[in-house]
């Protein structure tokens, strides 16, 4: 589904990514771990076509990204710790706006469907500025899945979430994964990553230092391995 070969990213003299090779199969759930500044978010931005790699090749669904970037963006969804929502619009207006940008079919029905999934059906007419952090993130999940993306990118999606919102996010991720959606998640919570994902990747100083099946190790062994890989940094 996603194939990244020899991805480099340089900003000025600084090399953020140094030869990333990554292969994600359709329906695979990959979790990426690494200390701050390791290059995780930069990698996500390249995979999500938000920024271009300095060198390397990226293919999604067998198509080279450079060929049709705009169309391919329609196949991905991103959930970040920032909501990408507009405070002055209501929840419904935000979803309608994004739905129109993605040219989503049967938009009204789809909005009611995703808003139900995240449990915000009673807040649909409320302005987003009145939402709590948890509600904002739930609406952000609805926004990201509104156009039914084939690939979902998540950048530290658990940041600031309460237990209820974590439960909803896990439920949505589980359902998407069951529907054969490919998921790429960056998190600092390795326990969550081990529980949900098929594959675990550790990035350190712009390179993949470890990748294996998530079920190979338990949380305790994985923590030990992680600390070894990143030189003792959390």
């Amino acid at each position: 589904m996603i194939k990244a070969e020899g991805i480099y990213k340089r900003i000025g003299n600084k090399e953020i990514l140094r030869g990333i090779d990554l292969h994600m199969k359709e329906g695979e759930f990959v979790t990426v771990l690494g200390p701050n500044g390791a290059g995780k978010t930069t990698l996500l931005k390249i995979l999500a076509m938000l920024t271009k790699a300095s060198a390397g090749k990226l293919t999604i669904g067998g198509v080279t990204v450079d060929d049709n970037v705009a169309k391919m963006r329609g196949q991905i969804g991103v959930i970040s710790h920032n909501s990408f929502l507009y405070d002055k619009l209501t929840a419904f207006e935000n979803l309608r706006f994004y739905g129109e940008m993605y040219q989503t079919n049967n938009l009204k029905e789809r909005i009611y469907q995703v808003i139900d999934e995240v449990g915000l059906q009673y807040s649909l007419a409320d302005p987003v500025r009145t939402f709590s952090r948890g509600m904002l993130q739930r609406l952000s999940i609805a926004r990201a899945i509104l156009h039914d993306p084939k690939v979902l990118f998540l950048d530290e999606p658990y940041t600031g979430l309460d237990q209820h919102a974590i439960g909803i996010l896990n439920k949505v991720l589980f359902k998407l994964n069951k529907d054969k959606r490919t998921i790429f998640m960056i998190t600092h919570n390795y326990e969550q990553g081990l529980e949900l994902s098929d594959k675990i990747i550790i990035i350190y100083k712009g390179k993949i230092t470890y990748q294996d099946q998530a079920k190979c190790l338990g949380p305790r062994e994985f923590k030990q391995l992680y600390l070894e890989q990143v030189g003792g940094k959390q």
Binding site: A48, L50, T51, K52, A70, K71, M72, R73, G74, I76, V78, S80, N82, S83, F84, L85, Y86, D87, K88, L89, E93, F97, Y98, E100, M101, Y102, Q103, R143
Partner: protein
């Protein structure tokens, strides 16, 4: 067709957000009103010299009010990182640019529509020109100003001092538009002798075409900075 629908969606989103708070519009209107009052006191409306500088006063007011609006057009997208959300959509980057140009133009035209009669009242200026030609001058001049300004506002929004930086980078580039706007307005209002109007209008049209085409090509890079 999708291109137009996406432009419409962004323009609608921007205008609805603006009309709910009226942050930009009220600031632009108050600024315009202050310019009118200050210049009305600074220049005696009864003097002949005031008649000569009247078109310049109008365009000082419009230009600075427009800068206030431009400053906010991309800074507002930084809240909740929503510009990133916009960039993730399958819309071409030029959709974002043209939608922002249209949104900014609508606000500037609203300010012009409300403030223009006040200029004539406060300066006791007897109208003697052609309204359609003045409307054409305003359309072409504001289009040129906003097309450059929107492009540079996107660039400046990535800096911490965008509100200071934007006027500094915009005004040197829009000098031809402001000169053409002032000169052609002066001709229409009869402040100077007739003649040369067509060449000023041609300059404005040429400028508009160039500065709508250049961002179309470069806007992708500006958003990536």
């Amino acid at each position: 067709m999708n291109f137009l629908k996406q432009i419409k969606a962004i323009v609608w989103k921007d205008l609805v957000s603006e009309f709910r708070t009226k942050e930009m519009l009220s600031a632009m209107l108050i600024f315009s009103f202050l310019v009118i009052v200050i210049f009305a006191f600074a220049f005696d409306p009864a003097r002949e010299t005031t008649r000569a500088v009247f078109p310049g006063i109008i365009w000082v007011g419009i230009s600075f009010a427009a800068i206030l609006g431009l400053n906010r057009s991309f800074v507002a997208e930084k809240e909740n990182d929503s510009l990133l959300g916009l960039m993730l959509t399958p819309a071409d980057r030029s959709v974002i640019y043209f939608a922002k140009v249209i949104g900014n133009l609508i606000l500037v035209w609203m300010v012009v529509l409300i403030s223009m009669p006040l200029y004539f009242i406060f300066f006791n200026f007897q109208w003697a020109g052609s309204i359609p030609i003045l409307a054409l001058i305003i359309f072409l001049s504001t289009l040129g100003f906003i097309s450059v300004g929107t492009f540079l506002a996107a660039l400046a929004a990535n800096t911490r001092t965008s509100e200071i930086l934007l006027p500094i980078i915009v005004f040197p580039i829009v000098v031809p538009v402001i000169i053409a706007a002032v000169e052609s307005t002066a001709i229409v209002l009869g402040s100077v002798a007739h003649g040369g109007l067509m060449s000023w209008l041609m300059l404005l049209i040429l400028y508009d075409v160039i500065f709508l085409a250049v961002p179309f090509v470069l806007f992708d890079y500006v958003l990536e900075v």
